[in-house]
Symmetry: C2
Subunit: 376 residues, 2 copies
């Protein structure tokens, strides 16, 4: 039976993927050497397409790992000697924080209740090098002086809360001396980050890019590399094959330290190319239009409400809905009609559903879904 | 043009893979949740098929990583507090050693020249707990008392040298108090290891299993887990999401800490099932028969010789040949006939070729290759 996945990852495959997979089989992509010119061409192509799509400058490398989860670890391992700072409002931002603790760093947390989000206005603005010590902060949060890395989550997949790109960019500008890393796992390429400022960001391919899982994409700047090299010079361990210097050295030749997921690197380049053909602005507008449909529906339809109250914090790519119809029943009901919804995350499993609004699903498919979600 | 890859990884896809990929597309394997019953069933199936194929007892878990390279790191990170011991005779055994150094361990190396291998007879036999200090070791090597982990490479892919399974098993029996980890990246399922003794082994899927790259398979025993837990109790960092306790806890439920390469886990289970249908002993015999053809050819044919002199050390799965015809020319010549050979590794690039003899290539294909390799 034909099925459409509105799950927040793994998700619906991008419409062109099955054709690209057939081409990959014909072109022996699964057999070519990762030390061959053929592979380097694939890596370069994917790099160029992502660079265009996400507006990434030459100061930043595009590196591959096994998952976005791996990047939490590599980022902390390579860019924090002592202290990291985390904005936490759900399971995935919490896990980034947990990772830093597992790696024995001194961690700071700024937490908000589930369903709430972070804005630029939540923070004390500091001028570089000028501490705001002893000042009256009017209840605003100051990122402590000794923090080396600020970890933000652009899209908290567990609760459907976004931190808007504009707020992320402004926050970085007021804390320029610190490295900033943005988890955009379930929002890229929607979020428009200013990579002239933002030092690092990452995502996985089974969300908005609509690919099978098994590849993490790590965007990292020369400043991140320099930090990793500093730690290494101090004889601290920054990992082995996937340390930033090791990844970067290979990257300069469009290679990877290990045999990577060549297959997915190839597919990612092809899908990014397809997206560039549409244009990232058109994709963002289409995402906004579909998101509006979804949230309007949730606000106006008996039995539903958007979980996130503040419209500015509502994720355009993962909408979370409170549902009076038990979510299990709703999910089963839609499944019989060929539409797969995500369940609520963790404790919200019974009372919420998550609707992924990735580029792989069309406005028409969203409309069909909403029609089917109407109370019976 | 139809091509056959005799490259030592990535390699020729197993003949059934393209059909399994089509089924995976039909069954939405790229979209299903990694927290669903459907995924747990896939993991369990792959686990069961590998357990049968490699004769793995219930004391050992089968865990997934992004690559075999990652497992070098995870093994050292989780199972070595201070000291590891490495048998080194090529680039890949060297890299396992380098990884331990990157992680700041105290490393011991027993090195042999490229092209030579290790036997049980190279080592002093010690009875558990009885040090052989001060004894005349007759030139044999004693693994030092404080070593916690012994790292062996069953198949040195760079030089085509094997350490026979029987020697690995005997060596472990004479050093029972130490953990043993065997890199069987390019030999599984050929090497028959005694997992009642051997604590850990690992491989990647783009070699003998004939899959696209992007998945490492880590077999680890309860003893390895206990060691990792000991280190954690001492407040040492054993990594984060891919620490052995984290992987193991998820494994008990047939899940993974991160969103894994679901696609490849599915394909691996299918290929292992196909292999079990043939039977691992039949596959080993077929590998031996094809290897005999290859080495006989190299010994008897003008312009070639086997690089590895000692027949017992010659890898059945990756044969390395010295060639008088410049290897680049030979490789180009065969490529025009649709057959892709591996070049020599590193410094041997110009003077050697590597011929992978994995289950994906048939006796008939090997014969066609050897026919084509004859001097022109």
């Amino acid at each position: 039976m034909a099925q459409v996945y509105f799950t927040p990852g793994p998700a619906e495959l991008y419409p062109t993927v099955s054709q690209h997979i057939k081409t990959a089989l014909d072109e022996h992509i699964g057999s070519i050497s990762h030390r061959s010119a053929a592979f380097r061409k694939i890596y370069q192509h994917t790099d160029e397409q992502l660079r265009t799509l996400l507006n990434i400058p030459a100061t930043h490398a595009i590196l591959f790992t096994g998952s976005a989860t791996e990047i939490w670890e590599r980022m902390i391992q390579n860019c924090v000697e002592f202290e990291s700072f985390h904005c936490i409002n759900g399971s995935f931002s919490q896990k980034f924080y947990d990772t830093a603790n597992d790696l024995k760093k001194f961690t700071h947390r700024f937490e908000k209740p589930l369903g709430q989000g972070f804005d630029y206005e939540d923070f004390v603005k500091v001028t570089d090098g000028t501490a705001a010590k002893g000042e009256d902060n009017n209840g605003k949060v100051k990122i402590p002086d000794y923090v080396e890395l600020v970890c933000l989550t652009a899209n908290e997949t567990s609760t459907g809360v976004q931190m808007r790109g504009v707020d992320i960019n402004k926050l970085k500008r007021s804390y320029r001396s610190k490295l900033f890393c943005v988890d955009m796992v379930s929002s890229a390429p929607y979020h428009s980050l200013d990579f002239e400022e933002v030092d690092s960001a990452f995502f996985s391919v089974q969300k908005s890019f609509g690919l099978p899982a098994g590849l993490g994409v790590w965007i990292a700047s020369e400043k991140c590399l320099a930090k990793a090299e500093q730690l290494r010079e101090k004889d601290l361990s920054i990992g082995s094959y996937h340390s930033l210097p090791s990844l970067w050295k290979n990257y300069k030749n469009f290679e990877t330290p290990e045999t990577p997921n060549v297959w997915n690197i190839y597919l990612l380049g092809k899908v990014a190319e397809d997206m560039n053909r549409i244009g990232v602005e058109a994709i963002r507008k289409e995402t906004d239009a579909k998101a509006k449909k979804i949230y309007d529906f949730l606000e106006k339809t008996e039995g539903y409400e958007p979980y996130v109250k503040n419209p500015e914090h509502r994720s355009p790519t993962v909408a979370v809905a409170n549902t009076t119809e038990p979510s299990k029943q709703l999910i089963e009901r839609l499944k019989t009609q060929g539409m797969i919804l995500g369940s609520g995350y963790g404790k919200a499993k019974e009372t919420q559903v998550r609707i992924a609004n990735f580029p792989a699903v069309s406005m028409e498919q969203v409309e069909t879904l909403l029609q089917a979600m109407k109370p019976v």
